[in-house]
Symmetry: C2
Subunit: 218 residues, 2 copies
Amino acid sequence: MEFSEYFPIWNQLKPWQQETVSAKVTFRTVKKGAMLHSGTDCTGLLLIKAGQLRAFILSKEGREVTIYRLFDRDLCLFSASCVLRSIQFDITVTAEKDTELWIIPADVYKQLMEQSAAVSNYTNEIMASRFSEVMWLMEQIMWNSMDKRVASFLLEEAAIEGADLLHITHESIANHLGTHREVVTRMLRYFQSEGMVRLSRGAVELTDRTKLELLSEV
Amino acid sequence: MEFSEYFPIWNQLKPWQQETVSAKVTFRTVKKGAMLHSGTDCTGLLLIKAGQLRAFILSKEGREVTIYRLFDRDLCLFSASCVLRSIQFDITVTAEKDTELWIIPADVYKQLMEQSAAVSNYTNEIMASRFSEVMWLMEQIMWNSMDKRVASFLLEEAAIEGADLLHITHESIANHLGTHREVVTRMLRYFQSEGMVRLSRGAVELTDRTKLELLSEV
């Protein structure tokens, strides 16, 4: 499978634009845990062939909160924040699974955007979509209690993995949600006492989805 | 002063595009407190000639949090969320001061974006700029304590008003910050005891900016 089959608006590029992009993209394979982007680097846009990435923000004290995840065929824009001068925040991107991806250099993409309304409008849609995820997250943080957020997170993970047994640590859940490990551990023990999950070393098993869903609903 | 002098990329529109937009925009004058947009309505883009608007999100329980403000020459994009199908959140926009503005119908703007890379890229920059404000806000909510947030808010208000005496209620501050009035009142009383503000009915006066600035710094 080629880059052209993964780049969503390939057919809207002119032949010479297709040539330029093809000549400039690089293909990479990274292992689970690899850091792909951090801070103000202008790494370029990441187009995922297969795998899973996580974008998060980091506090000065090292606390994390996941702002979105990227799956097959997703394009990561904010790893190339130099493309848009109004982007004034830094994200970190790491691989949550072994991942194959293409990197589109920021200057190449920026030129495409300037030349082509189609590329620019597509970029608008990506940004609007990430913006919506962040607004959802902010609403969760503002108005929802941590029990609902942990329940939602477990259900989301189970949906991503297609399994009820999640190999994930309390520390890692805390990093996704921007809270402390102790808070997550306390919540999971409460869930276990209510029969919603079963805890074991390095794993959480969902044992009552219906109850978790009821809890996660706002 | 005409619309053409306020619309930032007027000169990048083709003459027939300029004609279409001119024919379709409407000019409005609204009083302080007026609601300009709410929920999923596709009100159109708001271009501010003079005044001040506030965009906020609303919880089911009626709690508010300000996500950004708009001043002279600013363009409000999310009051026309139907322009971009990936926008999946609702904001409310009200006038914080008497405001004169133009409304650009969503379908007119959408057509411009599709035709013109300049308009689309400009839209990208606006969205990136709002996105950055929301990310800043989220970082504040996640990592910063309420004392810092109240101090920052008072300093920002003083900058907007160009005055140290702010005619604002505790309720209104709470609505900006997404918290409860009691929390704000407690914090302001503490600030007063530290000599940073002086409280009176319906007003907060900043009496020690340096101390507030020290407090607000992360």
